[in-house]
């Protein structure tokens, strides 16, 4: 293996150790990538006061943002509030909007910051809710349906829900920056550079964060992967 990869490896580890979430000034996605992003044009219409343009952006991205926030805080109601907060924040700052990256990078940077603040404010460890259906209120007892062994579909479904709950618990145990990087990359499908822009760090630090997150998932879910 060439010296190039070795130097990349060293840079990755050093970034992870020394500047895990450091703010890197002037870092943004490649100009060609965001100039061709149609959402940037729509956001510029929002800046000029076009409320229909804002509705267009909300309709296009709201579901994905709610899903991202939901994986983060594991609470449907709170995830919806966080998604709304993110869009409101973007709306309030519309006059100051200057495109420097793809719109999704900008949007997920706002959402990620809100989610990280939320994690800092409240302890979400171990506070899980069913993956399907509404969350249970405090003291409320959920109705548990017993799986009918004669119906394999129901059994599979139950197993799927259990697996999902288990994976979500492992995700919740991850350090916030690892969780952010993993969700942005794997669930939202952002490129490493976009994840780096969202988290205000370097691309090599993102690789390291995702590597460590996947290592933890592999260890915790070893029986499901064998």
């Amino acid at each position: 293996m060439g010296a190039k990869l070795a130097s990349i490896g060293r840079a990755t580890l050093l970034d992870a150790i020394e500047t895990p979430m450091a703010k890197i000034e002037g870092q943004a996605g490649s100009e060609a990538s965001w100039r061709s992003d149609p959402d940037v044009g729509v956001m510029q219409r929002v800046k000029t006061g076009d409320s229909n343009a804002f509705r267009e952006l909300f309709t296009k991205h709201a579901d994905a943002v709610v899903n991202f926030a939901y994986r983060f805080v594991n609470n449907r109601h709170r995830a919806e509030e966080l998604a709304q907060d993110a869009f409101l924040q973007i709306y309030r700052a519309r006059a100051r909007y200057e495109p420097k990256a793809r719109f999704t990078t900008y949007l997920y940077r706002v959402v990620t910051n809100l989610c990280l603040n939320e994690l800092r404010r409240f302890d979400y460890q171990g506070r899980t809710e069913p993956l399907e259906g509404r969350p249970l209120a405090d003291g409320e007892e959920g109705i548990r349906e017993l799986a009918d062994e004669k119906i394999p579909v129901a059994e599979d479904r139950l197993a799927g829900v259990e697996t999902g709950t288990r994976i979500q618990k492992v995700l919740d145990k991850l350090p916030p920056n690892q969780k952010s990087a993993l969700l942005l990359s794997r669930v939202q499908g952002l490129s490493y550079q976009e994840v780096a822009d969202c988290l205000e760090t370097t691309e090599s630090a993102v690789k390291s964060l995702i590597f460590r997150a996947t290592q933890t998932l592999r260890e915790e879910l070893a029986d499901l992967l064998s």
């Binding site: 293996m1 490896g9 579901d63 109601h77 919806e80 709304q84 799927g160 994976i167 996947t214």
Partner: protein, 197 residues
């Protein structure tokens, strides 16, 4: 082994196609010769599939969009009322008004000693005396005052310069003439006194 450590950091990106072209070629070359890294890649691919399968996307609640529309409408309303408030504040904070206010404040501070010097003519100075009779004598006509001067020693103070020990004794600031007048009224001599005065 060193190569494996370096390559494994790149494997998650390789597994889901997020690696840049510069990185793909060396990873691919290494995988051809390293069974352990190939096994790790297989696990990462299974993990990706598991994440997608076990964490299906959720659908926001039916009221999500309408709740946001309400918040947005409230936000728009707030910004309008803020702009009204800014109209009033804008008048108050006009650029020319700020230096004028600053000059006025400065003048007030600089003239404060002058106000202090002339405060005797504006504000009444509390009457300070050794006894009720001394104070009463001060208010009487000159002949009576002279008599009073002979009977009791008079405490004379510069009105603008009271000794600090006196300032710490508020009881000395009581206007005893009021008490005396009340005593006179109670004893029924008020009329005669007032006529005499």
């Amino acid at each position: 082994m060193k190569d494996c450590e370096t390559i494994r950091v790149e494997l998650p990106g390789y597994a889901n196609g997020k690696l840049g072209d510069d990185f793909v070629a060396p990873v691919r070359a290494h995988l051809q010769s390293c069974a352990a890294c190939r096994a790790e890649l297989g696990q990462l691919e299974r993990l990706d599939a598991l994440l997608l399968e076990a964490l299906p996307p959720i659908t926001p609640s039916a009221s999500f969009a309408s709740r946001f529309a309400n918040r947005l409408a409230a936000e728009a309303g707030d910004s309008e009322s803020h702009s009204d408030a800014r109209g009033w504040l804008g008048w108050l904070l006009q650029p020319w008004l700020i230096p004028v206010a600053a000059v006025a404040l400065l003048a007030l501070v600089m003239l404060q000693p002058w106000f202090a010097d002339h405060s005797t003519s504006v504000f009444p100075v509390p009457v300070v005396g050794g006894s009720p009779s001394t104070v009463a004598a001060a208010k009487k006509p000159a002949s009576d005052a002279k008599l009073a001067e002979r009977s009791t020693p008079k405490v004379t103070l510069a009105a603008n310069n009271p000794p600090s020990e006196l300032l710490q004794r508020p009881e000395l600031f009581v206007d005893y003439s009021v008490i005396r007048d009340l005593d006179i009224l109670e004893s029924g001599q008020g009329d005669g006194e007032s006529h005499a005065g």
